[in-house]
Amino acid sequence: MKLVIGIVRPEKANDVLEALYRAEVRGVSMSRVQGHGGELDQVETYRGTTVKMGLAEKVRFEIAVSDAFVQPTIEALCEGGRTGEVGDGKIFVVPLERAIRIRTGETDHGAVTPVSK
């Protein structure tokens, strides 16, 4: 059981969701974050004030999956999120200690993808 964290471009978020859906990964959280990677900073000018935008808008997916679904999830994130340019983002996979579905009290593998029928 792992927590897969994928940080991708906001404009690719829809593609990632589609890819996850096709990979039958269910149960996704998404949030807007700001981050800094290796990409060149955007320069913006407001009247006389010129600034370098050190943080870029990103979208962070958090997906808890059973072990068999880790690879398909990673593949979906890569497939949906990749443009080939610097700034496509990162994927982190971390071990997950426990998972509980609040509605039923199911725990662990019962509570993450694949959703029990």
């Binding site: 404009e11 700001q34 060149l40 913006e44 407001y46 600034v51 370098k52 935008m53 340019e85």
Partner: protein
């Protein structure tokens, strides 16, 4: 262009008329930023500024072209197709009254300029979220002369439509059908947004859209109410009809929304206000208040149908300029042919009051204006395309036009922004807002 005979005879400036026309001109100029707000609300947040800036750009460019040559081509002389060059660079446009009006020629020029501006801005609705800003400015400059000025001459300036008897009070031909059918051509030449039909592309701020529509309606009192060029009967009639028609369109739009989706929508209401104002634009000073209310109800139907149908096609006419302006303007122009009433307008009757010929004149305009607007815009953009790319790259489109075209964000938070000190001269060394 349809002044009461006693006004046409008076070759003197009337202070009351002039005072009203000064205000009306300012009201119409305000409609273009209002349109910018309306359009900006309807696009995604990453394109807010670019969308608004296209309207601001139209004010910049179309005012200049209008003063240099557009006004002259539209309003100098009564050539069938195009006016003369006597008023280019505003020569001979001064304090003496404009022929057929009681207002100074300069005021008449400024009032007409605001029409050219907003019409140019309207066309941008078809191409937002992907057309390059520079290419749009070039298009706006040429379009305001080659398309708007020509249509304005036909309908207002002594061209073949007005001479042939077509009634167009405030611009069903040049403004509404001119922008609407040009927008269709522009959408076809520029092409759909890359995500069109694949992703839901939703309005990012419906409050902007409602506020923009409300300000447009407010400005439209100057637009229609000023198109009599006086405080005389036709202007007064058009002013009041500008209240009545959009209200009726709203009511019918509510009903259509409720029937179709069981809910009355805010974006629908904003659209209905525009459709109603457009519908009464050509007819304002020609039909009775009663018929104006009927027109409001009638105009809603075809516009609503096109708005429902268009997104199912491959044509990404993004903000539905064709439906809201082209189709509603078409309805208004034809409506005059049926319901114009000489007892109200002092000019002509429609079919219902015994003058079938008026309907023929109106139908002619309803065919000629869309044909010219569509054809000329199509060719113009094809020519510009040979000189410069019309659209941003897919990558730029994904990033959003605000950052790519303007180097600004509409909703910048400042988090993570590092100040580049002005005195250090390393601006040149910093990568410009150009995506790698």
């Amino acid at each position: 262009m349809t002044d009461l005979p006693h006004l046409a005879a008076a070759a003197q400036v009337d202070t009351g008329d002039t005072a009203w026309m000064l205000v009306a001109t300012a009201l119409v100029l305000m409609m273009t930023p209002a349109l910018g707000l309306f359009y900006a609300g309807l696009v995604r947040s990453k394109n807010t500024l670019n969308t608004f800036m296209m309207c601001v750009g139209a004010i910049a460019v179309a005012t200049v072209t209008w003063a240099l040559v557009g006004y002259s081509l539209a309003f100098d002389g009564d050539g069938d197709i195009i006016g003369g060059l006597g008023y280019t660079f505003l020569q001979d446009v001064g304090f003496e009254p404009r022929d057929g009006t009681t207002i100074p020629h300069l005021v008449f020029f400024a009032f007409q300029a605001t029409f050219c501006i907003i019409t140019t801005a309207l066309v941008s609705g078809a191409v937002v979220e992907r057309m390059r800003f520079g290419a749009f400015l070039v298009f706006a400059a040429l379009w305001s002369v080659l398309v708007y000025a020509v249509l304005a001459h036909w309908a207002f300036g002594g061209g073949w439509l007005i001479e042939g008897g077509t009634l167009d009070f405030a611009g069903g031909v040049p403004v509404e059908m001119g922008s609407g059918f040009s927008a269709l051509a522009a959408a076809l030449v520029v092409g759909a947004r890359k995500d069109y039909g694949r992703q839901a592309l939703l309005p990012h701020n419906s409050v902007y859209a409602l506020l923009g529509a409300g300000l447009l309606w407010f400005g439209w009192f100057g637009f229609n109410g000023g198109s009599g060029f006086s405080t005389g009967n036709s202007g007064v009639l058009a002013f009041t009809n500008t209240l009545l028609t959009p209200a009726c369109t709203l009511v019918v739009w509510f009903l259509l929304d409720a029937l179709r989706g069981r809910r009355v929508t805010a974006i629908g209401a904003a659209t209905a206000i525009i459709v109603g104002c457009v519908g009464i634009t050509p007819a304002g000073g020609f039909i009775s208040p009663g018929w104006a209310m009927v027109l409001g109800a009638v105009a809603a139907l075809p516009a609503y149908a096109v708005i429902v149908w268009r997104p199912r096609t491959r044509v990404d006419e993004t903000l539905d300029v064709l439906a809201a302006h082209g189709i509603a303007g078409f309805t208004g122009i034809l409506f005059i042919g049926f319901f114009a009433q000489e007892s109200w307008n002092g000019v002509s009757d429609g079919l219902l009051y015994g003058n079938a010929a008026q309907l023929g004149d109106q139908a002619l305009a309803a065919i000629a204006a869309p044909a010219y607007a569509f054809g000329a815009t199509f060719v113009l953009l094809k020519v510009i395309m040979r000189v410069m790319p019309l659209r941003a790259t897919e990558r730029e489109e994904a990033l959003g036009m605000d950052i790519v075209q303007h180097g600004e964000e509409a909703y910048a938070t400042g988090e993570g922004a590092i100040l580049i000190a002005p005195e250090t001269d390393d601006e040149a060394a910093v990568p410009v807002a150009d995506p790698v």
